[in-house]
């Protein structure tokens, strides 16, 4: 179906199901229970899962397939956000104008930055992309203030023209009247509170399309060429193909994905700030991709979800929460346990994430996807042992 083989079609259906069911799946604990802390099914966070998933999927087309490690992709994220907010200011709050512009603008910038950066490979390429991103950040932060509103960030003011703005039109980002921040259904089922949010589903549908496109690219002759570039550029040249246009195309595509993600950030929250372009944001997408599994289809999405979950959930666990959990322990011991855990939660979530990242890089070079595969193999071996008659096929 849709140009995919049977296995990929099944895989895509699973991804679609999981994406659409996210508001339920991420809300496993009833409201008010001690573990409700760990629920992640609220709109703001789910939107981030989808948006950073898109960012990482695109990044993976460059890094996972060609091996070129860009340290400047946040620049495109920022360009996407600015494009969308400008369309709010000039036209109206319908995201239909801004999102295509975000993709086009980031594509144009990626073409220029990629053309220059791809003259070098390895660490020099990474440094060049980093330099470009930091330049973009500096431009957005101070030099181009008329375009970016500098430190304050770009936002919509009542004095803005908004020439297409209708009298009854919503006064916040929407898609033909579907207001992003509104929830269309908030059922409370036996203590479980679920939130079905317009914005999340808007992002989710775009994320599914983005995932599908990346799947097609992975399976295409183009995707094969990108893997060939990563494997042996010398052989590629002596086979009659210059690697450069392939890497540039991958760079532009991943830049457009980043621009789309940036545009969606501004579609959920009508703001664009320079800090979105900072090197920390560029580094974050690298972490997401490696943590999840570079070069795999699902890995970057898992990595993005994992990091955003940590950032939002672990960071909320403060000493009060910890004391609540361990109150059953004797006083002295309770304080001790809380003191031991304290550095790893709350503001210390980066520490936990850093340790996890190291563990993954050392023990699971294939990322979370490899972890899943290992567990899967473990189970299939057990199943095979239990069922001696079963016909075991070697894994591909």
């Amino acid at each position: 179906m849709l140009g995919l083989d049977k296995r990929d079609t099944k895989f895509l259906w699973i991804v679609i199901f999981l994406t659409l069911a996210t508001p339920v799946l991420l809300q496993p604990f009833p409201e008010g229970s001690a573990l409700a802390q760990f629920n992640a099914g609220y709109p703001d966070l789910m939107q981030r899962f989808a948006i950073f998933g898109i960012f990482a999927i695109g990044f993976n087309i460059l890094f996972g397939l060609t091996g070129y490690l860009s340290f400047g992709h946040a620049a495109f994220l920022g360009i996407g956000s600015y494009s969308v907010v400008w369309m709010y200011k000039l036209l109206d709050y319908n995201v239909i104008w801004g999102l295509p512009l975000a993709v086009i603008m980031s594509g144009i910038f990626a073409l220029g930055i990629g053309y220059i950066s791809l003259r070098r490979s390895g660490i020099y390429f990474s440094i060049l992309t980093l330099a470009f991103a930091q330049m973009s950040f500096a431009l957005a932060y101070s030099v181009l203030t008329p375009l970016t509103n500098g430190e304050t960030g770009l936002q919509v003011y009542t004095s803005d023209k908004q020439i297409l703005m209708g009298a009854t039109e919503p006064n916040s980002p929407h898609f033909f009247g579907i207001v992003m921040r509104d929830n269309f259904w908030q059922p409370n089922i036996g203590g479980w509170q679920f939130t079905f949010n317009n914005g999340y589903y808007f992002c989710a549908i775009i994320a599914i399309i983005a995932f599908y496109i990346s799947m097609r690219i992975f399976r295409s002759p183009f995707g094969m060429m990108l893997r060939a570039v990563k494997s042996n550029q010398q052989r590629m040249s002596y086979t009659g193909l210059s690697p450069r246009p392939y890497t540039l195309a991958a760079f532009v595509i991943s830049g457009m994905y980043a621009g789309l993600a940036g545009g969606l950030l501004a579609s959920m929250d009508p703001l664009a700030g320079a800090e979105r372009m900072q090197w920390t944001a560029s580094g974050e997408v690298v972490l997401m991709t490696i943590l999840g599994g570079a070069g795999t289809l699902l890995g970057p999405v898992l990595g993005a979800g994992f990091i955003k979950y940590f950032e939002n959930i672990f960071s909320k666990i403060n000493d009060n929460v910890l004391h609540g959990w361990f109150s059953f322990l004797p006083d002295g011991l309770e304080d001790f346990v809380v003191a031991v855990i304290h550095p790893f939660v709350g503001k210390g979530w980066h520490l936990t994430l850093g340790l996890l990242f190291m563990a993954v890089v050392i023990f699971l070079p294939g990322g979370l996807v490899e972890l899943g595969q290992r567990i899967g193999r473990l189970f299939s071996r057990k199943a095979a042992e239990d069922e001696t008659t079963a016909d075991v096929k070697p894994a591909e």
Partner: protein, 252 residues
């Protein structure tokens, strides 16, 4: 006029004269062996032919067109393919993909996106690649990860990658080095078969005299970067200068 004409080529690496006034003419549809002791400059000469190195002076004409100053991928598209001394393959890809990529390169000629096509739909190219793998007796290894194969298999794969492009000039840099006797004989048979099937010119660098004398129609002996003699295999065997400079050394 040969299909390949090398005239007055010099190449220095610092103080070392790797190639000194090389003149070489390879006739169309012949197998031309280049022999000589280690360090004679044989690989350097091939590097000049495929655009990996630019000579200090001299000219290299392929089919009446200069190859100097062209990029390696442009030279390949002119019809020159090369098998390297240490196999250059796509190690992270499987055997089938390794052979498919040259098929795409040959058909497309230059960069094409094909981002929304699927590899299994390219029936013609797949058929061509499969036939090539049958010819080199590797069809049962088509799904194998290329990097995990033996050195002999990697060489055969690289040869398949070059042959599937149907080059007009095939350059082979010690194609049987590190191969077992049986594989060496298979390689000789394969090259003879290809030669019988279609028009192709081959320049082969080889240490194994069995291979050289089984295949070559002309032999050039290179020593210290300069061609010593060029003649037919029969004459080369008995040539005193050759015995002294190369064969004597190689055999004892």
């Amino acid at each position: 006029m040969g299909i390949l004409e090398v005239k007055g080529v010099n190449k220095r690496f610092g103080g070392l004269q790797a190639l000194g006034n090389v003149n070489l003419s390879i006739q169309e549809n012949t197998v031309h062996a280049i022999i000589g002791p280690n360090g004679a400059g044989k690989s350097t000469l091939l590097n000049v032919l495929v655009g990996k190195l630019i000579p200090d002076t001299g000219s290299v004409m392929f089919d009446g067109q200069s190859v100097l100053g062209r990029k390696p991928h442009e030279i390949n598209q002119m019809g020159i393919s090369r098998v390297f001394q240490t196999p250059e393959i796509f190690g992270d890809l499987n055997v089938m993909e390794n052979v498919l990529i040259p098929c795409f390169a040959k058909r497309d000629g230059s960069f094409r996106m094909h981002a929304f096509e699927s590899v299994p739909n390219e029936k013609d190219l797949i058929e061509k690649a499969e036939q090539m793998l049958i010819d080199v007796k590797m069809i049962d290894k088509r799904k194998m990860h290329a990097a995990s194969m033996s050195r002999g298999d990697k060489r055969r794969l690289e040869m398949a990658m070059c042959l599937v492009q149907e080059p007009r000039l095939l350059l082979l840099d010690e194609p049987t080095a590190g191969m077992a006797r049986a594989d060496t004989n298979n390689t000789i048979d394969l090259l003879k078969e290809i030669k019988a099937k279609r028009d192709i010119t081959m320049a082969i660098i080889e240490h194994d005299m069995h291979v050289v004398f089984s295949l070559a129609e002309r032999i050039t002996v290179l020593a210290q970067g300069t061609p010593l003699v060029e003649d037919s295999p029969e004459n080369i065997k008995g040539h005193p200068k050759v015995q002294e400079a190369y064969l004597g050394q190689a055999h004892g």
